[in-house]
C-alpha cells in the first residue's frame, strides 16, 4: 500500500515535530503554513525548555516535574498525559542537543540549567535568551532535510480554511487558500494534524505573533470539534507595553535574579536608580517569601494587578511596575539574557542593564484549545492536534518553559498516532468524493460573499473593539456581569461583521480579505472563551473571579468542553472529569512550601 499521506497544518515546534516523526516512520507529509515555517511564532519563546535531567545534584525527578506541572496547573490537567510528557522530556532535550541546538553549557561541556517559575529546581535548559528560536531552527533544519529528500512538501503562504469531512464526518482532506493567488483548493490526506498555535489576536494586543489568530482551531470547532478549557488564558506578568503588540519580557529575567518592585510612596517621581532599597516595595518577595519573584505567572500577574489597581502603587500612577536587573553584573546579563535585553533596548530605548525595566502583564498563552484524547486525537476522526492549539498539558495555568516541551512532545505523539490511524483507515469508496467539491464550493461561497459585501464596517476596527473588550473583561479579573456584556458585544460584532466593507476587493494577496476571514473565526472562538469563563464560578489557575475567589473542586474539577451548535450559531457546553489518577488534588499556595 502507498505511504500514509498526512497533512500537517502549522510549522511551529509542534507541527515540525510531528512532520519529523511522520517522515521518519515512512509517511509523506504536506506541510501547510501561513508564513515560511522558520518564521513561526515558536521563535518568540525565550526562556527555555523544562526537563528533569537533574544535572545540578538537586535530586530532581520527572515525578517532581509532573507534580510541579499539575500543581502549577491547579489540578485541571489530565495527569496521565502530563506524566508521559514529563517522563519523555529528558530524552527530548537530548535529541535537541544532538540536533545541534546551541544550549548553554557548563564548564564541563554539559547542558546548563536555570530555574524558572513554579519550581524549586534548576530544570530549564536554555540557549541564550532565544531558546524557542533555536529549537524551532533545529527542527526546521531536520524538516528541510526531509524536504530535500522529497518526503515533505511545504505549502507556505497557504491558509487552512477547513477540514474536508466525508458523509461519516471523517476527515479526508483539507480545504486551503493560497495567500498570494487567493486560489481555494482541496488536498487529500489520510490524517490531519493541526498545530496552529495560539489565539492571541482575539485579545487584540498580546505577546503572540500576528498569525496567532486561532482561526484554524475555530474553523474545526465550527465543524464539530470540541474545544476545551477555552477560558484559561495565561496573562504573562512581565510584558513590555507597545503600540503594535505587547513584547514579552521572559520569565528568565526573574529566573536570573530579576526583582519586581514599586516605590513605596505613591506616584514617586524620582529616577528609580536614586530610590534607596528602604523606599522600595519588593512585593512578590514580601508576599511569597518561599518563591519570591519566581511565583507562577498567574500569581505574579494578580499581584501586579493588585499593586497597580488596588494599592495604586504603579510607577508614576501608570499601570506599570519595575523589573530590575541592574544589581546583576553586566557580563552575566549579557551571557544569559542578552537577547531579551536587546528587545527591551531596541523597542523602548533604555538599557535594562542600567535602568530598571517598566513592565505590565499581557495576554500570552491559551491553556485551552482543541479537545484531544490521550493520543492527541480530536473529536473529529482523522484530525489530531498538537501544541498550543490543544488543551492537554497545562491545566489551568502553564508553567514557564513547559510550553516548548509540550509542543514537541505533542508533535512526537501526534505524528506516529496519525500514521497509525492512517494505516488502519478504510479508504473512502470510489466515486464518493463529492465532499471535496462541496467543501471547496462552500469556502468559495464564503469568499464571494465577503468580497462582495458592501457595508460600512472596517474589519481592522472591529478587531480592535474585540481586542479591547476581551482584554478588559476576560483576562486577569473576571466578573460574571462583564463576561455577559462581553458576549453581547461579540454577538454585536458578529452582526456588524455581516456589514463589512473591504476597501480592497483585489484577487491577489489581499491581506484585508484574508484577515476578515480570520476575524470571523476569532469572533466565534471569543464566545467560547467568554462563555466558558462565565460558567466557571470559581478561581483556578489563570481563571480568577473575585466573586468566587476559591477553587471549587466539588463543582469544577472538570474540563470545560465546548461544541458548536450550527443552528443556534453559538457554543454549547459539557463537562468532563479530570484524570487525577496520580496526584490527589491539594490546595495550591505559593506563600509556603507545597
Amino acid at each position: 500500500m502507498a505511504n500514509p499521506k498526512i497533512i500537517v497544518v502549522g510549522g511551529g515546534l509542534a507541527g515540525l515535530s510531528a512532520v519529523i516523526k511522520i517522515a521518519e516512520a515512512g509517511g509523506d507529509v504536506d506541510l501547510f503554513s501561513i508564513v515560511p515555517v522558520k518564521r513561526s511564532h515558536s521563535v518568540c519563546a525565550q526562556g527555555g525548555i523544562n526537563a528533569a535531567k537533574n544535572l545540578k545534584g538537586e535530586g530532581d525527578t520527572t515525578a517532581q516535574h509532573l507534580d510541579d506541572t499539575v500543581y502549577g496547573g491547579d489540578f485541571l490537567g489530565n495527569q496521565t498525559p502530563i506524566k508521559e510528557m514529563c517522563d519523555a522530556a529528558p530524552a527530548i532535550i537530548d535529541l535537541l542537543d544532538r540536533m545541534g541546538v546551541p544550549f548553554n553549557r557548563t564548564p564541563e561541556g554539559l547542558l546548563d540549567f536555570r530555574r524558572f517559575g513554579g519550581t524549586l529546581y534548576h530544570r530549564t535548559a536554555f540557549a541564550g535568551a532565544t531558546t524557542g528560536q533555536q529549537l524551532l531552527y533545529a527542527l526546521d533544519e531536520q524538516v528541510r532535510r526531509y524536504e530535500s529528500e522529497g518526503r515533505v512538501t511545504k505549502y507556505e503562504h497557504w491558509e487552512f480554511l477547513s477540514a474536508v469531512l466525508d458523509s461519516n464526518r471523517v476527515c479526508r482532506g483539507i480545504c486551503a487558500m493560497n495567500l498570494r493567488t487567493m486560489e481555494v483548493r482541496t488536498f487529500e490526506c489520510d490524517a490531519l494534524i493541526v498545530a496552529t498555535g495560539g489565539i492571541g489576536a482575539i485579545f487584540g494586543k498580546s505577546t503572540n505573533s500576528v498569525v496567532c489568530t486561532g482561526s484554524a482551531q475555530s474553523a474545526l470547532y465550527q465543524q464539530g470539534a470540541y474545544y476545551a478549557n477555552g477560558e484559561f488564558i495565561q496573562v504573562h506578568p512581565t510584558s513590555i507595553p507597545g503600540e503594535d503588540k505587547l513584547r514579552l519580557m521572559s520569565e528568565s529575567a526573574r529566573g536570573e535574579g530579576g526583582r519586581v518592585w514599586v516605590p513605596k510612596q505613591k506616584h514617586d517621581k524620582r529616577d528609580p536608580r536614586t530610590i534607596p532599597d528602604s523606599d522600595r516595595f519588593y512585593f512578590l518577595e514580601e508576599w511569597y517569601p518561599k518563591y519570591g519573584n519566581l511565583v507562577p505567572r498567574d500569581v505574579a500577574t494578580r499581584a501586579i494587578h493588585k499593586i497597580v489597581y488596588e494599592n495604586d502603587l504603579g510607577i508614576d500612577g501608570q499601570p506599570m511596575v519595575y523589573l530590575d536587573l541592574t544589581h546583576i553584573d553586566r557580563h552575566t546579563l549579557d551571557r544569559k539574557l542578552e537577547g531579551i535585553l536587546e528587545i527591551y533596548e531596541k523597542f523602548v530605548g533604555d538599557d535594562p542593564r542600567v535602568h530598571p525595566m517598566k513592565i505590565f502583564p499581557g495576554m500570552h498563552y491559551t491553556m485551552g484549545g482543541l479537545w484531544i484524547d490521550f493520543n492527541q486525537a480530536t473529536s473529529i476522526p482523522g484530525v489530531f492536534a498538537a501544541g498550543e492549539c490543544e488543551y492537554q498539558y497545562h491545566g489551568a495555568n502553564r508553567l514557564g518553559a513547559n510550553s516548548l516541551v509540550s509542543c514537541i512532545f505533542g508533535g512526537f505523539v501526534a505524528g506516529p498516532e496519525a500514521v497509525k490511524y492512517a494505516k488502519g483507515l478504510q479508504k473512502s469508496p470510489a466515486g464518493s468524493n463529492g465532499h471535496f467539491d462541496a467543501e471547496k464550493k462552500r469556502q468559495e461561497e464564503i469568499n464571494s460573499r465577503l468580497i462582495s459585501s458592501d457595508g460600512t464596517e472596517n474589519p481592522f476596527r472591529l478587531w480592535r473593539e474585540l481586542g479591547d473588550t476581551m482584554t478588559r473583561n476576560v483576562t486577569v479579573l473576571r466578573y460574571n456581569k462583564s463576561l455577559q456584556e462581553t458576549d453581547t458585544k461579540i454577538v454585536e460584532l458578529l452582526e456588524r461583521f455581516r456589514k463589512i466593507n473591504l476597501s480592497d476587493k483585489g484577487a491577489w494577496a489581499n491581506t484585508s480579505f484574508i484577515f476578515s476571514r480570520q476575524l470571523y473565526n476569532m469572533l466565534q472562538l471569543a464566545r467560547v472563551i467568554t462563555q466558558g469563563a462565565a460558567r466557571r464560578d470559581e478561581s483556578r489557575g489563570a481563571h480568577y473571579k473575585p466573586d468566587f475567589p476559591e477553587r471549587d473542586d466539588a463543582k469544577f474539577l472538570k474540563t470545560t468542553k465546548a461544541y458548536f451548535a450550527p443552528d443556534a450559531d453559538e457554543p454549547r457546553f459539557e463537562w468532563e472529569a479530570v484524570d487525577t489518577s496520580i496526584i490527589k488534588p491539594r490546595p495550591r499556595r505559593y506563600d509556603m512550601a507545597k
Partner: protein, 248 residues
C-alpha cells in the same frame, strides 16, 4: 480524483536571484585565479617595477640605465614578459572588468567604509589598467627600444613626465595601482581565510596601508627624480653615453 491531487508547489525560480548552483560551474577556479594572479605575478611585478627597478631613477640616469639593461638581459625576456606580465595582467584585468560589471554598487544607500573600498577597488583597477595599457604602449612598443638602448630609458620617461597631463596620469596611475595592489592583498587575506577575526583584519589593514605608502612613496620619489634631472638623451648615441658614464 480531480479535486484532491496535490502536485508539488512550484519551487523553481522563474525570477529573482537564482539559488546556489551547488557543485556546478568553474567560476570558483577563475575567481581564485583572479585573486591569486593579482598578487603573483601581477602584484609581485608591480612591486619589483616600482620599488626595485624604477626606484633606480633616484640614483640617476646611469643607475637607471644599468637596471634596465639588467632586466633586458634576462634570459627569455620576451617569454617572461608575455607569460609573466602581459597575459596575467590581461587576465586579471579582463576578469576584473567582468567582476566589476556583475557587481551592483550601492554606495548611496550604504556609504560604509568597506563598501567604499569595494567601489574604490574597482575604480582603481580600471584606472590602473588604462594607465598600464598606455604606459606599456608608449614605453615598450613606440619610440626607441629600451632593450636595445637601455641608456635612453631615463630620457624617454622624462619626455613623458615633463608633459603636465602625462605627469598627472603617471601619478594617478601610480596611486591607483599601488592602492589596488595593497588593498587587494588585504582582500586576498580576508577572502582566502587568512585574516579571520575582525581585529586581525584591522591590524592587517594597517600593514597593507603601509605597503601602499611604501609603493606610492617610492614611486612618487622616482617620478620626482625624473623631473628634477635635466632632459637626458633618447637617441642611440646619447644613450650609449649615459650607459657608460659612472653612477653618481
Amino acid at each position: 480524483m480531480a479535486t484532491a491531487v496535490s502536485p508539488n508547489p512550484k519551487t523553481e525560480h522563474t525570477s529573482g536571484v537564482a539559488p546556489l548552483r551547488a557543485g556546478q560551474g568553474h567560476e570558483f577556479l577563475l575567481r581564485r585565479l583572479h585573486s591569486l594572479s593579482g598578487i603573483i605575478p601581477v602584484g609581485a611585478f608591480l612591486f619589483e617595477h616600482i620599488v626595485v627597478s624604477n626606484a633606480q631613477a633616484i640614483n640617476g640616469p646611469t643607475a637607471y640605465a644599468n637596471q634596465v639593461r639588467f632586466l633586458g638581459s634576462l634570459p627569455f625576456v620576451l617569454a617572461l614578459e608575455i607569460f609573466g606580465i602581459w597575459l596575467p595582467i590581461l587576465f586579471h584585468a579582463g576578469y576584473g572588468f567582468y567582476i566589476w560589471y556583475r557587481g551592483q554598487s550601492n554606495l548611496i544607500n550604504y556609504p560604509w567604509m568597506g563598501n567604499w573600498m569595494y567601489a574604490l577597488q574597482r575604480w582603481t583597477g580600471g584606472i590602473a589598467f588604462a594607465y598600464i595599457i598606455w604606459h606599456t604602449y608608449t614605453m615598450r612598443f613606440t619610440g626607441v627600444d629600451l632593450h636595445d638602448h637601455p641608456g635612453a630609458s631615463f630620457g624617454k620617461v622624462q619626455l613623458e613626465l615633463f608633459n603636465p597631463a602625462y605627469f598627472a596620469f603617471y601619478v594617478i596611475g601610480l596611486l591607483s595601482a599601488s592602492w589596488h595592489f595593497a588593498y587587494g592583498i588585504w582582500l586576498f587575506a580576508a577572502k582566502w581565510g587568512i585574516t579571520i577575526g575582525e581585529r586581525a583584519r584591522q591590524r592587517f589593514l594597517y600593514v597593507c596601508m603601509a605597503l601602499f605608502l611604501l609603493i606610492s612613496g617610492v614611486g612618487l620619489a622616482s617620478i620626482t627624480s625624473f623631473r628634477s634631472h635635466q632632459q637626458q638623451p633618447t637617441d642611440p648615441a646619447g644613450a650609449a653615453v649615459v650607459e657608460h658614464s659612472q653612477v653618481k
